[in-house]
């Protein structure tokens, strides 16, 4: 999910950086003080999750958690993910610095989309529906991120079939695992700390 330095062309890097900057600005504007501890916690979770790989058959998968971040924080996902990606680049050597904008955009924009599409529903209904919505948020976020990764590579000029093979198909098991994890976490939070799941959309719809 992290693109390394030297892979993408300059126009793609520049566009990604500009769009990510816009996203971060919106996110910071919408950041309320009470959300800051939540934001720090989720940023740390994202930071650690990408570093830990769980062996799955011949390959290994790792959690991304951008779906969960989108559900809980919305636009604040942009600054959160930017900070975590920067630290990953510095401390672990994941991704790169020139691609920071593109990587942030690829991970945070799907998070925001999940926020608008799915966050109103996670506090409604019973545990099972909450799990399903959580599952969708996780899987959709990964799916969209992979699509954006593919688009970034395509825009740089890679061959289409190659890109589809490498990025989309390879990430299908990650989508399922991430969906499962996000669903479980959402259910857990609903029981233990439902206030964490409250967002503007849930309050707007007067959810109890």
């Amino acid at each position: 999910m992290h693109i390394a330095d030297g892979v993408l062309s300059l126009p793609v890097l520049a566009t990604g950086a500009l769009l990510a900057l816009g996203g971060v600005t919106i996110g910071l504007k919408k950041l309320e003080e009470e959300q800051i501890p939540k934001a720090a916690l989720l940023s740390s979770a994202f930071f650690v999750a990408s570093a830990i790989h769980l062996p799955l058959g011949p390959a290994s998968v790792h959690l991304v958690l951008n779906g969960l971040i989108g559900l809980i924080l919305g636009w604040v996902a942009f600054p959160i993910i930017l900070i975590a990606l920067f630290l990953q680049a510095v401390l672990f050597g994941f991704g790169g610095f020139s691609v920071l904008g593109v990587n942030t955009l690829n991970l945070a924009l799907p998070a925001v989309l999940c926020f608008y599409l799915l966050s109103p529903f996670v506090l409604r209904g019973n545990q099972r529906t909450a799990f399903l919505y959580g599952w969708f948020a996780g899987a959709l976020a990964i799916g969209l991120s992979t699509v954006m990764l593919g688009l970034s590579l395509l825009a740089t000029g890679r061959e289409f079939i190659h890109v589809v093979q490498l990025s989309l198909i390879a990430h299908l098991p990650v989508m399922f695992l991430e969906g499962f994890m996000t669903g479980s976490i959402v259910v857990f939070l609903r029981q233990v700390r439902p206030q964490l799941l409250v967002s503007w959309s849930t309050t707007c719809l007067n959810v109890q």
């Binding site: 390394a4 800051i36 720090a40 930071f47 650690v48 672990f92």
Partner: protein
């Protein structure tokens, strides 16, 4: 409810104590042996890079040729000239890395000549012996150094717990700083 907390704490414990050094990046290691550049591509923490192209560039960055890694991630490339070379491995899904191989002439092993008072053919013989000796020594030392280099390379890729903790610390630090600024601007 208790069961769920138990599940989550297990997950958290796994996340923190999981002795995993898997990294989400790709790495190259290569050495120059005689006229052959030999190396392998790997994912730090496990797994070799299979069937991926490796490009060879000279010290100025000019493209010289390319080869492909085998099932063990290994590749070889014969070179005609001594010098420093850069290898580039690009998987195509966003993972890319490079590695520079330095030629042995830039790692000269100096053997200080013993005090000698010979002359003529004796001198020539001793010079031949010395050259042979130097070459033997270089080979032997390289044999011992290469596994060490591989170990160092792999060790550098290790994700250490203190890096993780440092990152988390930075995140909370940045957030706290931001909060402080926001409050003081009120």
């Amino acid at each position: 409810m208790v069961y769920d907390m138990f599940k989550c704490s297990i997950a958290l414990i796994c996340l923190i104590w999981f002795p995993s050094t898997y990294a989400h990046k790709v790495n190259l290691f290569a050495t120059l042996e005689g006229n052959l550049i030999k190396g392998y591509g790997y994912f730090p923490g496990g797994g070799r890079v299979q069937q991926v192209k490796v490009q060879l560039l000279d010290s100025k960055g000019t493209f010289i040729g390319e080869t492909t890694t085998d099932e063990q991630g290994r590749f070889e490339y014969p070179i005609t000239r001594q010098g420093d070379y850069t290898l580039v491995l690009d998987i195509g899904d966003g993972h890319r890395t490079h590695f520079t191989v330095t030629s042995p002439s830039s790692e000269k092993i100096e053997i200080s000549p013993p005090l000698q008072k010979e002359g003529g053919s004796d001198l020539r013989q001793s010079i031949d012996c010395k050259t042979e000796l130097r070459e033997l020594l270089e080979q032997a030392i390289k044999q011992h150094l290469t596994p060490l280099r591989e170990q160092i390379d792999a060790y550098e890729q290790h994700i250490r717990l203190h890096d993780i903790l440092g990152g988390i610390g930075y995140i909370f630090g940045i957030m706290g700083f931001y909060l402080m600024i926001k409050k003081s601007l009120k």
